[in-house]
């Protein structure tokens, strides 16, 4: 673990890998240091912003003992997906399997929201499965709301229409982010997700 400078109000905690991030994030959010404003986990790092002195924050961050388990029991959400994405055939080719095998793998894995970013409510979901897909060579300028996608080791659902470079494999009608709902974001770090095949629409 390394603490890196990030201005007068934040410290960037650099960890070895995503598993370490999840364990560290779980421990930190369970008992956040005083005056902490935001804790932002990412692939290898956790950014912590504070309204207090940085010295005290750094000391508290060094003292965190990462949690052994990052999963919250019972907090599992099912997302029905219609697997008809524009990149589904490409994904099958890249993985060297059939389209139905892609669907079977995607629905068979249990996914965990590792972190959020990109846009409000966009979760980076990881699973125990070995996914490793490149982004599209040229990003789409418009990915529709609810698009279910893959890139790298991650799966995600676009919360609203936006540009995007991930491989689209399907779509869901579940509202991933709704600013008028409480909570607005369906995905939060640590939440478990299972994708369910809703059949070809």
């Amino acid at each position: 673990m390394r603490l890196l400078p990030a201005g007068d109000r934040a410290v960037l905690v650099e960890l070895g890998n995503l598993d370490e991030v999840l364990g560290y994030y779980a421990a930190l959010t369970a008992d956040p240091p005083a005056e902490v404003i935001d804790i932002v986990p990412a692939a290898h790092t956790v950014l912590v912003t504070t309204s207090g002195p940085l010295g005290a924050l750094s000391q508290a961050l060094r003292a965190v003992t990462p949690a052994g388990t990052t999963q919250v029991a019972g907090d599992l959400i099912e997302i029905p997906v219609t697997y008809d994405g524009a990149d589904l055939d490409d994904v099958a080719r890249l993985l060297g399997c059939s389209v139905s095998e892609v669907v079977a793998r995607h629905t068979g894995d249990e996914w965990t929201v590792a972190f959020c970013g990109f846009s409000p409510g966009f979760g980076y979901l990881t699973s125990a499965g070995t996914w490793n897909l490149p982004r599209r060579e040229s990003p789409r300028t418009k990915v529709p709301v609810g698009a279910v996608a893959l890139a790298g080791e991650f799966s995600g659902v676009y919360p609203r229409e936006s540009p995007g470079g991930w491989q689209l494999i399907g779509r869901t009608t579940v509202r991933i982010f709704d600013q008028d709902r409480e909570p607005a974001a369906l995905f939060h770090p640590g939440r478990r997700v299972r994708f369910v095949d809703a059949g070809r629409g």
Partner: protein, 278 residues
């Protein structure tokens, strides 16, 4: 109920308050007023409760009609045609016309009672990147004014300096990815005079100048970034993150602008010379 009506919105006028801090883990940016000191001062001058929503305008151009008698305060970039840094009474039927500012970029109009649009995720701020909060103001729009006020502070005038018109110096400290750049790259960052690009907005101030040398190639995994982060995209020229910056970013952050100099970033105008001081 008090209200004002937008007659002309100018280049960009948005509603801003203290923003949505505390929700970054859900991918929700902080947003909020870009020049926080100017915004806070405007609210205090009219005796608003802390965090009341005000109007942030970019390069003047706003014309508003007082539908009822209002008490207002205007701070930040000094626009022609309106009083500055002082509470002022505006009679029903009067117009406030904001001419172009002499220096600086962003001006704040606070109305006693606060702009009372419905909050979204705990804030009335317009976030242009995320599309959260109210849309930018448009002509003919009527804005309700609330009633959440403290006693008037009894201040006639706040003696604050106008944003500077010439070269602006911003103190910086090394960021988490300083080591992605050579010493020559760092030297180039703090020794050259940059110019503010016209491509700048509430997400970030883009600076034009000579590109920086990197000591390593490859991609950075996206990581969290705070306001004031100086990100170096592949072009090699800096972007200083402002209020509507995304929660995470994938380009290395070479440095951060120090906290006391952050509000000055919000007042930088396209073409203005900027030095980053180590």
């Amino acid at each position: 109920m008090s209200s004002l009506t937008v007659i002309e919105s100018g280049p960009l006028a948005t509603i801003q308050d203290r923003g949505r801090a505390g929700q970054a883990a859900l991918g929700v940016p902080a947003s909020g007023a870009c020049d926080r000191a100017a915004y806070e001062l405007a609210n205090r001058l009219v005796g608003n409760v802390a965090g009341a929503a005000a109007i942030e305008l970019t390069y003047g151009g706003l014309v508003v009609h007082a539908d009822t008698e209002l008490v207002v305060a205007i701070t930040g970039a000094p626009c022609t045609g309106v009083p500055l840094n002082a509470p002022a009474r505006v009679r029903a039927g009067e117009l406030l016309r904001f001419g172009p500012p002499a220096t600086g970029l962003r001006t704040y109009l606070a109305v006693r009672g606060g702009v009372d649009v419905p909050p979204v995720l705990g804030s009335r701020s317009t976030d242009l990147l995320s599309g959260l909060g109210p849309a930018p103001l448009t002509a003919q729009q009527t804005l309700p004014i609330g009633t959440l006020v403290e006693p008037m502070p009894g201040v006639d005038l706040a003696p604050v300096a106008h944003p500077p018109g010439g070269e602006v110096r911003l103190r910086v400290t090394p960021g988490p990815r300083r080591d992605w750049f050579t010493d020559a790259g760092w030297a180039a960052l703090v020794e050259q005079t940059y110019q503010v690009s016209s491509n700048s907005n509430r997400v970030g101030v883009r600076l034009d100048g000579a590109p920086l040398d990197r000591s390593r190639t490859g991609e950075l995994a996206s990581e969290g970034m705070a306001r004031g982060a100086i990100q170096i995209p592949p072009s090699g020229t800096p972007v200083i993150f402002l209020a509507d910056h995304p929660v995470t970013g994938g380009y290395p952050v070479i440095a951060y602008v120090t906290e006391p100099d952050l509000d000055a970033c919000a007042q930088l105008r396209p073409g203005q010379p900027v030095r980053l001081i180590d």
